[in-house]
Subunit: 117 residues, 2 copies
């Protein structure tokens, strides 16, 4: 097998910096391909390709307007990522980080990380 397709899910789609940039721009409102080309300083074909990927994973929606196509952010698709990462928040928040370290030292535990209760 090779690496999973970029169109597999939001995680893969968003791994590409350009696509993140596109979403950043779209977060401020609907944009035409040309708008994006200008904003990203990237060739039009590549922008269209990235948009295709984002569309396939449902991160953007399109609307036709004459010869233009207006792309819009479809944020829901990012929730999965958010939810997954949020579960790790305690692991980088200083308060808990420090606490973990202390507990580990005191208990000599190999299996720490218990601020559950």
């Amino acid at each position: 097998m090779a690496r999973a397709a970029t169109t597999t899910d939001a995680f893969n789609a968003v791994a590409e910096p350009r696509r993140r940039q596109i979403l950043d721009v779209l977060a401020r409102g609907e944009r035409s391909v040309t708008d994006l080309v200008a904003a990203l300083d990237l060739a039009q074909p590549q922008v269209s390709k990235h948009l295709k990927v984002l569309h396939e994973v449902g991160l953007v929606a399109v609307r036709e307007d004459g010869r233009r196509r207006l792309y819009r952010l479809e944020g829901r698709g990012l929730k999965a990522i958010h939810d997954w990462v949020a579960g790790f928040a305690r692991h980088w928040e200083d308060r808990f980080g420090a606490l973990d370290a202390v507990l580990a030292e005191i208990t000599g535990e190999t299996d720490g990380n218990d601020h559950e209760g």
Copy 2:
């Protein structure tokens, strides 16, 4: 150019499901490679490879213990992802989603999304 290396950053490293699984397990405490192999039902070499990637991007740390190597989650590396995604939260939270729709319809705007103030 081809796709960015998986070791480029957390975004790329975490795009692979197996690596996310590994982090999920490590979130509950230090684990040896063998532990992970058992938990993931994946061949040992592949686990070691994934761990290598995770280590290169700083998402895990290692500690030697006799013939074993104990891997530990290094959560800080996930913060970048969290921060980026969090910026889009308003786009999937129902309250705001509905509000956006209404505003868009009322104003006929092409450039909506303004609950700034």
